[in-house]
């Protein structure tokens, strides 16, 4: 099965901020950010383009954002409204394909291979979807169109905001060669630094290395890098929206000095978590439970265990086991669960039931 695929990566432009600006147009031309308050150690979730000209970025501590841009309008997030907008966007996706892999509220891969809409042109489908998002939801989105998820995702970033880029199979080489290695999947700050130290700055540089050499240096990631720098990516668009994990975390206004203070916070986290788990209503029980601890010096650790029905005792145990790794004051605690990787059902035998209804 080597017919070229047609993948679209759609990414709404500064999604939370766009929803806020849609609902209050007076926010359009002022620097706007959505995030937690500075005095509560909040971070910026999203900011609009005027804010970005000041250097404000997502994941930046709010206190720093306010230093960069003292006139910044800061709003607390309103996830109910964002979710509603996200659902509206997804309804539009579904008019074109069922093969949708949501990455977050505002981002998704669409596999439109073999779709009939727009004469089967992925370029036109992407354009139409973006136009409909703007008309029906009132926000803008950018798109990347390519033969796989890797290139589509990089391409959607190219003409942001409110733009799109198509990379045909013939153009992949020219597109990927000059690309900085930092753009590749799995390359964060640390790996980027290691790559740079080896003189590897672009994908073209990476291509000079054998798979063997990359694997020796970078393990599993090495193999992925070997393929990524050639623009190869055969990961399927995984629809069905399988949730991989569910968690809650909280950054405390004041560091929690000792283990007992951390333990004292567990009931509240657990209450939040239980509520979220109930709302998410996953199709299956969790596979693992975990706790995450971020210490005051920003080092962090997680500990997990196999557990289908985590309760207070399980999280307490994990926390007691994990905390001694740092033995320092704690600024953030998180608890959550991971769900098992879907064992893809490959049995082509017909089902006995579809939903509750017998097939026969």
């Amino acid at each position: 099965m080597n017919a070229p695929r047609k993948i679209i990566h759609i990414d709404c432009d500064c999604f939370y901020a766009s929803v806020e600006m849609r609902d209050d147009p007076s926010l359009r031309d002022v620097p706007l950010a959505i995030g937690g308050a500075a005095d509560r150690r909040g971070v910026i979730a999203t900011c609009n383009y005027p804010a970005r000209t000041f250097g404000v970025r997502s994941a930046m501590p709010t206190s720093r954002a306010l230093r960069l841009c003292p006139t910044l309008v800061l709003l607390p997030p309103d996830f109910e409204r964002y979710r509603a907008a996200s659902r509206a966007v997804h309804r539009i996706f579904r008019d074109y394909t069922d093969r949708i892999e949501p990455l977050s509220l505002d981002e998704a891969y669409l596999d439109v291979t073999g779709c009939d809409a727009c004469h089967g042109s992925a370029t036109l489908i992407a354009r139409e979807i973006r136009a409909r998002i703007e008309a029906e939801v009132g926000i803008t989105a950018s798109a990347g169109v390519a033969g796989n998820k890797l290139i589509a995702k990089i391409a959607s970033d190219w003409n942001k905001p409110n733009g799109q880029l198509v990379v045909t199979p013939a153009e992949v080489d020219a597109f990927i060669s000059p690309l900085p290695v930092d753009k590749l999947w799995g390359v964060g700050k640390v790996t980027a630094q290691r790559l740079h130290q080896l003189g590897l700055h672009t994908c073209a540089d990476l291509r000079g290395w054998s798979q063997q050499a990359l694997v020796t240096r970078f393990g599993k990631l090495g193999r992925s890098l070997y393929h990524q720098c050639r623009g190869d990516d055969n990961r399927p668009v995984e629809g069905g929206g399988r949730r991989k994990s569910l968690s809650v975390e909280h950054t405390y206004p004041r560091d929690l000095p000792a283990l007992d203070d951390c333990l004292a916070q567990l009931p509240r986290l657990l209450a939040d978590f239980t509520q979220r788990l109930a709302r998410a209503d996953p199709d299956e029980p969790p596979h693992k439970a975990f706790v995450k601890i971020k210490y005051h010096d920003f080092t962090q650790t997680t500990m997990e265990c196999v557990c289908a029905a985590p309760d207070a005792a399980v999280f307490e145990r994990l926390l007691r086991d994990a905390w001694p790794r740092g033995q320092r004051p704690v600024r953030l605690l998180g608890i959550g669960v991971r769900f098992a990787d879907a064992a893809p059902v490959t049995d082509p035998t017909l089902p006995l039931w579809l939903g509750d209804e017998p097939v026969v």
């Binding site: 199709d283 299956e284 098992a340 490959t346």
Partner: protein, 368 residues
Amino acid sequence: MQLLQAERDALLKPLATVTGIVERRHTLPILSNVLIQKSGDTLAFTGTDLEIQIASTQADGFSGNDFALTVSAKKLSDILRAIPDKSVVTFEENESRLTVKAGKSRFALQTLPSADFPTLSVDTNLRATVRMPQGQLKALLGRVQYAMAHQDIRYYLNGLFLVTEGNHLKLVATDGHRLAYASAELETSFDKNEVILPRKTILELYKLLQEVDDEVTIDIAGNQVKFSFGNVVIHSKVVDGKFPDYNRVIPQNNDKLLTIERPLLLAALQRAAILSNEKFRGVRLVLTDGVLKILCNNNEQEEAQEEVEVDYTGAPLDIGFNIQYLLDVLTNLSVEQLNFTFGDVNSSVLVTIADNEHFKYIVMPMRI
């Protein structure tokens, strides 16, 4: 202080009974342990994974004081297995350690307090108590347990559906593609009770039941089922979920009857399976007057063909199945003859035993 002295087997047997469910690594360290309690002349071993709890008792005139402690199930059973048969084993307790002595060997093991061992709180809201010979329950389980789903997203399929209705006990297992049903008549009549027992419980129960006429008692409570037989008591939580309606997938209008010798079909399918596709495991059954043709091929275009003479007079049929589903029913039943009743290429086949309403197996076809 000496706690106990006994022959190796008197300890190993009850220990092995309860260790099957004990997880080796768990966040709660005590769950890797086995609870050992001596009370009067009775010694009890208990293991749990919080879903299932198995206890096994021995009343072999143990002397000495009563005690209770927990110790690593894996280590203790490894030790007992490794020492010679018929050795006399001594348990001693020194501070918080258990010393196991046999001959010139000695092992000092860490213990955890028995008070910390999480025992299931017994659900006393009893709805039905079913009694039958152990061997009968084991045979019933053997006819259905292979069809349970394994790690299915539909968690309620990863188990066995147990129903009491009138004077019948019914067991149903399905993975969504095939379904096995077995029932037995009981001496007493019951209200309708339905529970889903976890897969792990069923596999463990099947392993521990003996092929004897001694009785097993099944106590069905609201959210727990208890099985008692011999020296063993298993408490199992039930799976909270709705089992699909199995009655409605039993085909009613299939008209193409094939009666076939089970060992003959099993052997032919086992040979053909050598060349079935490893991933999809497809097999084609081609039925014509008097002949069943069995065809398998794999990715490398290799082919197997078997021809079996059969007493078949129905309309011709060319239908595909996952060969494993057919092998499963053929290997888990011990009868000589089976009836396969087919519909069309898109409908399920019903496998039954002639003049026997107590067994049904249904397999959906695959398109080949």
